[in-house]
Point group: C2
Chain length 202, copies 2
């Protein structure tokens, strides 16, 4: 009785995500998805009519997971220092487990404007008023240099996300491959909050 959302469908979605993320929409082959799901093309189309349709499922699902629980932390009651530490830890832990989701999402968004809507739609509403209030209070008190919430957020996300998006490039330029890269990330997790918070001191 349709218990657990159907095993085959699950296998298809997993395979599709793997292939789409690895190859992008244009590079992905339906045949490959079928093979990786352990089924055949006919059944694939039986479940998901078109490539476009399947892709949209995957994209929405991946986009939804791109910022895991950060919104809650950022608009919570903790002090800024606490928030920054928690967000960075949470986010980089997540990225270590899913290192190539962001590159996929960002790239597909660059290619087709329509995906923007899907992306926005998949996001919970981003409420940052409490964070903004905290920042403004600090600035007014002179304990933080003037900074907009936008700038704050972009810096935060840049520092977390970029190394994963550009991983092969960093590998090539700085010789950060595999284990070296993992070490690098571990070190980064330790240093980044202090670096970021320090940068905001007046």
């Amino acid at each position: 009785m349709e218990e657990e959302e159907n095993d085959t469908q699950r296998k298809i979605l997993d395979a599709a995500q793997s292939v789409f993320v690895r190859s992008g929409f244009h590079g992905a082959r339906m045949e490959e998805i079928a093979r990786e799901a352990g089924i055949n093309k006919a059944l694939l189309h039986y479940y998901f009519r078109t490539k476009e349709h399947l892709f949209q499922m995957i994209f929405a699902s991946v986009a939804r997971r791109m910022f895991p629980r950060l919104s809650g932390i950022l608009n919570g009651e903790d002090e800024i220092e606490e928030k920054v530490e928690q967000v960075m830890a949470t986010y980089m832990d997540f990225l270590e487990r899913h290192p190539n989701l962001p590159g996929f999402v960002i790239n597909e968004m660059n290619r087709r404007e329509e995906r923007l809507q899907q992306f926005v739609g998949s996001l919970g509403p981003l409420r940052l008023d409490r964070l903004t209030a905290q920042i403004e209070a600090r600035v007014a008190a002179g304990t933080m240099r003037p900074v907009t919430t936008e700038m704050f957020m972009v810096n935060l996300v840049s520092l977390c996300l970029f190394p994963f998006i550009a991983r092969p490039m960093l590998g090539a330029i700085l010789g950060l491959k595999d284990e070296r890269f993992d070490e690098f990330i571990e070190q980064r997790k330790r240093e980044l909050p202090a670096f970021f918070l320090n940068g905001l001191r007046p």
Copy 2:
């Protein structure tokens, strides 16, 4: 007599870069490149035998321009503060003029390992020993918190590059579109060096 490297060839390369950067290797269509160059498919293959061949030209050329003159500045004689300001200014000016080159390069590198070689080959040798010496001196003097040259570089590049790579995403999340985005970047150019340098204070 073969004056200026051939006009048609130039037009083809320009069109190819435009299309490849916009659509990626798999998304790009030879027909479209021909059209955008104002010629036809036959002539396109007359100049560049295969899509792969044409792509490699473009990729190498674009990769070569991805870090314009940063190496020279970073290993120069100036003080670190001066270097950081110059690098950020130079780089972000460049990125304002070529906002989508990095996304293209990084993405293609993510898709096919072989491109790493091409990328590395297109880079001048990256010498950072003088910068490293400066950092170490500062750290030893207690005027800078301990940081590796790698971490220094990744932070620097992250903060400059990421907003351009993720431009549509930032547009969607933070409402930074077009003019707003340009303003944002201008503001960023002013604030970023101080933020970065400040982050390294002990």
